[in-house]
Symmetry: C2
Subunit: 718 residues, 2 copies
């Protein structure tokens, strides 16, 4: 399959065409969307694929139709409409004030539910039509007939109900979980009273003030998390009777199809021992033994809920990296086994008390589990099966009898949504040679009907050559993938200033076989300005398996930098790269990498721009930080050696640190401590803050930021 | 007298000599003091002038002598010793732990008083040997025999006793005031409970925290100030019975010689009506009528206490700018007059209920009242009598009979300390032709004995030419003074980049006829780097009279900039100034001016560095801000037009804003709001913060800062 990768460069250099502005290239820019490949908004109504435009849900109705039924102009865009019932001609219209179900065949309003003012974290059950939500830190349920019930009363800045916990790590993104029948609501309680509030300052007030930003730093006091189940018919709340420390993590809450049980992936604070437990949803009683356990000397990271088979409530799909790669496993909850602990390919140990079977064998990662074809009883997923950079759509029999089937040509990076019974999917993808395509795919036959083949939106522009490729990592063995962008109007006899863009941390990648090899708009701008841009996914990044990721455990930065320096060595072999004019830029983990590279290799990199950097992992948060670094008292050496403060004295080149003044992720203490260390050491970094912005800049601030970053390289690297 | 001014330039350009480092030129630099003219520490023991060195109080004793008497090595330097009793051979030794009185003739310890741990704001009475001090926000008195009494108990962050009030404006610098006999202690109470704390962040903690920084912003809630008198013999405290709003200012507390009365200069929050009131120190009862009243349509600013004549307790010296210039007035408290309100030369109105007479007539300002020659009954002062830039020492008969007498040659900038009876003074001065001299002056005969004539410490260095001069202000009439520094190794045929250094605000001046015309070390560094440096004291600055200062009232920045632009026009007449490479730098009010100039004249100034700037006078404090701008509700137009936020869009050149991250004076809200406004307007300022530093940088931070400022001009102006 290797041929599919490097066959083509996406956008060949062309002269006498238009040039881009930053507004054209940055998602926050005013003209950005004009220069993106055409997109198709779509959804499913049962087995009917529905294209959604601002004005219509094509083939079904127009916004005007809906507004006529509603008697007022409520629907301003159809792009957010959903069809909650596969078998009924009902469309859900949601406004800030209400949820409305409209029968678009009968042309009548079926149901309306008001949304209380100030409600957040809305969770609506199509089955019961009950709406769960939060007002501030308390949970409310509004039944289908409009009765409002307040479930909790003592919520405040310290005690928070119904919101996401554990800083959105471990796949957690919300705090309200309806049972499949909409009769029971599981919700989180987070007690963060022991966590100090990081002093974030709001300068927009008459006199600047602080606001609450509870931030648990590595090794320090953390959250207590617990889970309650509210039963709508009885109006009673029970708490899951967990005998573990409250500082353990309770993740990926999963309802059994009959709503009788709630499954929880439980993880100790050390994050090296995961147990999957069932709880009685009526009483809160915990099962005596876990269904599944996983241990790892580095860490275990549960990221996905159980998904029960629609046709067999005794079996569920679990995702795990126990065997190094993220794969689908089928758990048979009805079949107890006694295997005992055994070693797994990922380097840890596993104890399955229920019969568990790998569904997706191979050296690849499942990126996205899509669901099931309930007729063929196949599971559908996206994974980098054909090549690490290509994410393609696959079908595999849940029975285990039969091979995985590719549902596309095996190239590019795909995303897909399934129809109600999974017999079809809408597949949106791009590749180095495809700007964007949307296809309707039969998941049984793999037959595809093309719905959209977007033309290259940049055909009138002078674009740079973008190539992908691979080099060996610093371990001499592992393949690392890169993207290389040559300057616009490239002259091979010239030597160009060259900027390395880097992220380098876990749960992210920068190279994939999508349009332009996943280029970032700023890179095109820099190419237009006459820079070579180089991006390399070092070890530690995602979709390459657990060992690849865990190479960095307890000493973040070290292997990542060694790999990046392999990239530099590669760059030095290119005759058009001016090794005396190397720059580096990255944000967040990439800001950590940038600062680290500038101070560790001060004679290699002349100019750097580090955004929202981690400087000292002591200042990073418990959930993410302790996973990769352990606690400071367990890994003092690793915290010390990865800390950039002692390296402040090494700074030679020009380094600008940029951060959101209100960054709640890499709190300003990181950057400001580094600035202080530089001052004390007599080195001269530069600094810029975006007041009011968080960890990233959006909208026009993003354009401003990249103008700033570009100017810095123009000032000092050109 | 004009001849004395421009006769000489101080330091002629010389080649093949040494160059300065920033460490040589900045007060915080490691080698700074090696390159300053020799200094003489001195004090008076009655009529005996005593030169103090580390090792000895010359002519009297050595540190070793004292330590032998003390029996341990307590005195490590003699430079801070004082002689509290003119008529007794007693020297006061103060350590962090105790105050010790040593009889250096009898070679014995006369008295020791411990200093309680944590004590601050120490005030010791030589007469009673009682020590007043604060622990936190409460006041304590320790009597001579060591008895400790706690005077207040409810002091905290909101209620503060015994410390300075009104943010050190109005000449206030402390909060504990012993009566002349040391038996009564007046002290301030400050209730700042209604003032919000500006969120200052300490990043040095494990997790960053805020600390209390009560900051009253213009027009917002302010302090309540009151004054108590504690009577040591009775142990009783009375409060001054003031019927005015507590938000009025109570300044320049002055004891009558017999300790029976306490005089207070009282000023309404509008700062346009001052009343001098007497209070009965035993009861706190307020006199029915004020002794003196002053009103001004702009503002009145009492800055000095009453000083009673040593030979006549019914008369006192008051300082006032009622007649435009700051002058000494003699008040005869025993003689009531009925003059009614009358207009004064300064533009306001005056009502004297006690006979008041101007002692120092003339178009000059008294800068420093030194005291009296009690034999000749003359008052001694320093003022710019001979020329606005020269501060010389003068004597004037208190009787009013006889002329002012000059006690030096009329040149240079002098400071002086009087002997106990004022018959002699030690005069330290420099001028454009004198590095530093110290002279012992007979205040009756004006005869002088030279104690020190310091040689030029820069004689081996390649130094720039520094000249002083004057131009007309934008009003076409007023003389403004400047300092002009040419590049080292000046070549008149070249064109040089030129930097304007500016402050421009009240209560400060940058040009005077001291060494190098009051040069700042960084200017020498810039001259060495090849820049012309120009500094002009615009209208609004100090020692030029009230009208000169008040030209800027209610529209800070406007006249100041017009005057600075006259400076630019002058620079453009100089053939060696490159008008296409003009930069500007200033700090605090000068940061306001720099930012304002960069945004108001974007085509004139190419590069600016603004330190700790005021951006919006709404964010500045009540006491200083409302004096010059009135309250925002009274002067909405002035606040709006002086606000730099709407000008952020005009920025064209390179502007770096630098501030102490913990600046308690121009709080970070100023700079950060401007940065935000620039981002919103799409302009690109630069920014740097010094974490942990306040409004100014000291020590090595100061060197780092000026390296930074220099680099910015080198990067963009050269």
């Amino acid at each position: 399959m290797a041929a599919i990768l490097w066959a083509a460069t996406t956008m060949m250099a062309q002269t006498t065409k238009k040039s881009f502005t930053l507004d054209d290239l940055m998602p926050g820019g005013s003209t950005y969307w004009n220069l993106q490949p055409k997109y198709m908004f779509s959804t499913w109504w049962g087995e009917v694929p529905v294209e959604l435009t601002v004005d219509e849900a094509k083939t079904l109705f127009t916004a005007e139709d809906l507004n006529a039924i509603l008697g007022e102009k409520i629907v301003r865009s159809c792009t957010n409409l959903t069809f909650p019932y596969a078998d009924r001609p009902i469309v859900k219209v949601q406004t800030p004030k209400e949820i409305i179900l409209v029968d678009f065949k009968q042309k009548s309003v079926v149901w309306r539910g008001a949304i209380q003012q100030g409600a957040s974290a809305l969770a609506w059950s199509p089955e019961s039509r009950a709406l769960a939500y939060c007002i501030g830190s308390n949970v409310f349920v509004q039944t289908a007939d409009g009765e409002r019930r307040q479930l909790t009363t003592d919520g405040n800045d310290d005690i928070v109900y119904g919101h996401s916990v554990s800083r959105d790590e471990f796949g957690i993104s919300k705090g309200l979980f309806w049972s499949p029948d909409g009769q029971r609501l599981a919700f989180y309680k987070k007690d963060q009273s022991r966590i100090p509030s990081y002093p974030q300052v709001d300068i927009t007030q008459r006199i600047a003030t602080t606001y609450v930003d509870k931030y648990p730093m590595a090794g320090e006091e953390s959250e207590d998390v617990s889970v309650a189940v509210y039963d709508v018919p009885s109006g009673k709340t029970v708490w899951l009777q967990n005998d573990k420390p409250l500082t353990d993590y309770m993740t990926n809450l999963s309802w059994s199809p009959d709503a009788a049980k709630l499954y929880v992936f439980e993880l100790n604070r050390d994050q090296n021992h995961m147990q999957l437990f069932g709880y009685d949803a009526a009483t809160g009683a915990k099962d005596a033994t876990p269904l599944i356990e996983e241990k790892h000397p580095k860490y275990v990271e549960p990221l996905h809920t159980l998904i029960f088979l629609p046709w067999d409530a005794t079996k569920a799909i679990m995702q795990s990296r126990r065997d190094n790669w993220n794969h689908l496993y089928l758990i048979d909850l009805a079949t107890t086994v006694k295997t005992g602990w055994h070693d797994a390919e990922g380097g840890g140990e596993v104890l399955d008390r229920k019969l568990t079977r790998l569904l997706t064998p191979g050296d690849f990662e499942v990126r996205d589990f899509l669901g099931f074809n309930t007729k063929t009883k196949n599971a559908l997923f996206i994974g980098n099966v054909t090549h690490p950079l290509h994410q393609t759509v696959w079908s595999v029999p849940v029975s285990g009898k039969g091979k995985m089937q590719l549902l596309s040509d095996g190239e590019g990076v795909h995303s897909a949504t399934l129809s109600a019974n999974g017999s079809q999917l809408i597949d949106t993808y791009s590749s180095p040679t495809v700007a964007r395509r949307v296809e309707l795919t039969d998941t049984k036959s793999a037959k595809r009907v093309r719905l959209l083949d977007a033309e290259d939106p940049w055909k009138d522009y002078n674009t740079p050559e973008i190539t992908g490729g691979s080099i060996k990592a610093a371990d001499g063995v592992t393949d690392l993938y890169y993207r290389l962008i040559k300057p616009v109007d490239f002259d091979p006899t010239k030597k160009y200033p060259t900027v390395v863009y880097v992220y380098g941390g876990p749960h992210a990648h920068n190279i994939q076989a999508s349009r332009g090899y996943y280029y970032r708009g700023w890179e095109i701008y820099m190419a237009q300005k006459g820079y070579v841009v180089f991006v390399l996914d070092n070890r530690g990044s995602e979709y390459r398996g657990l060992k690849f990721e865990q190479a960095t455990f307890r000493h973040l930065g070290d292997e990542e930098m060694r790999d990046q320096m392999c990239g530099v060595e590669f760059l030095k072999t290119l005759p058009y790269v001016d090794a005396d004019r190397l720059g580096v830029h990255g944000w967040s983990f990439g800001g950590f990498m940038t600062t680290n590279l500038m101070c560790t290799y001060p004679d290699v990199f002349k100019v750097g721009v580090a955004g929202g950097p981690v400087i000292d992992w002591h200042y990073y948060e418990v959930m993410y930080g302790e996973r990769y670094m352990d606690r400071p008292d367990e890994n003092a050496e690793g915290y010390a050696s990865s800390c950039l403060l002692p390296k402040a004295k090494n700074l030679k080149g020009r380094l600008q640190i940029i951060l959101g003044y209100n960054d709640p992720t890499c709190v300003p203490q990181h950057s400001l401590s580094f600035i202080r260390a530089c001052i004390d050491a007599g080195t001269q970094p530069d600094l810029f803050l975006y007041p009011g912005d968080g960890h990233n800049m959006f909208g026009t601030d993003q354009v401003h930021l990249h103008e700033r970053i570009t100017r810095y390289f123009d000032d000092y690297l050109k």
